[in-house]
Symmetry: C2
């Protein structure tokens, strides 16, 4: 009837971090093939006062582990925000995924209106768990994930929406699109089966 | 204990569409002040094979109304994807918000595993309602919202993360950050009150 906080967050972060990892692999390959120093991509920005690619990746791992830590009370791994190369960023993503994967459903706050506190240098932000996920964690995560993707697209890395979305969990398809996306063929719907059998 | 599909989607789309509208107003003002033809911003892209700003906005309204229509069975308004100016885009956003606001909780599918079909020109995509929202609707919506924002940032429009997040629904704060973000001051937590009263 409704979506559990664990189910709403844990698999979503894992799925998207895996997509980010796959996109970064394509970026590293693209840099190599085009004779571009990896640092050029990693330090690219969309505007002088926006963060470069390396920081966007660091932030999405912080968003994902921070959200899951706040919802569970678990201690998230701490990473140094250095001048990471592609390998170090992949390591950081992998460790974030490992932390999130290790969280159990029963560790998550029981109620969608459980209080969540987010300590920042000049104060504390307060939300219910539901408001935090909907209005802070997801928008921030997708913002930095998309911006990382956009920096790469702007720099000619050949990735597309399919890389961003990944193989959508639970999605099946009928028609030509199934093969095109590489997703499982959907079973015939109950409605169609009824129709064939002469049902209403 | 968990989040209803209506609560997970309806207020989130409305909130973010309002943020997009406010960002577009700043963009139109910026173009005017800098003597830039609005069309220059509206036709800007981050890569030659990415959609321009005008299309990004059209897509986020389609994402939002399409998602809510699929979750409720309601008939969404149909918009022509013309060469809209800022005023027409604002109108499109306003009509999308109006449609979504008019949906009642009881119109939403009852179960998170209710089947959702998405008809595309070369087939049909199938999901449960939960998988559709988590793996398709939200990632797509935030992708195009962020890309619209990034196009404007790349073109020197003075907007920031606070414009993207908007005034996060339900968020309160303590410390200097409350005033900085213009959010309500959080009530003292029960724990702190107890402490002052000499409780454990």
């Amino acid at each position: 009837m409704s979506v559990e906080l664990c189910e709403l967050t844990k698999p979503v972060f894992i799925h998207n971090l895996k997509n980010m990892s796959a996109i970064l692999k394509k970026a590293a390959k693209s840099a190599k093939e085009r004779g571009i120093e990896p640092e050029v991509l990693l330090h690219s920005r969309l505007a002088p006062d926006m963060f470069p690619l390396v920081r966007q990746i660091q932030i999405i791992t912080d968003n994902a582990k921070g959200c899951c830590a706040r919802l569970t009370g678990a201690q998230a791994p701490v990473f140094e925000d250095g001048d990471d190369d592609f390998k170090q960023l992949q390591q950081r993503i992998a460790e974030t995924i490992k932390f999130i994967k290790g969280l159990k459903k029963e560790q998550f706050v029981a109620n969608s209106d459980s209080p969540i506190e987010m300590v920042v240098p000049i104060g504390v932000l307060h939300f219910t768990a539901e408001d935090y996920v909907k209005g802070w964690a997801f928008p921030n995560f997708y913002f930095h994930f998309t911006t990382a993707y956009n920096i790469l697209r702007h720099n000619g890395v050949e990735v597309g929406k399919a890389d961003f979305l990944g193989l959508v969990p639970g999605m099946t398809a009928t028609g030509k699109i199934a093969k095109m996306l590489g997703v499982p063929q959907a079973k015939k719907s109950a409605k169609k089966v009824k129709k064939k059998a002469g049902g209403k």
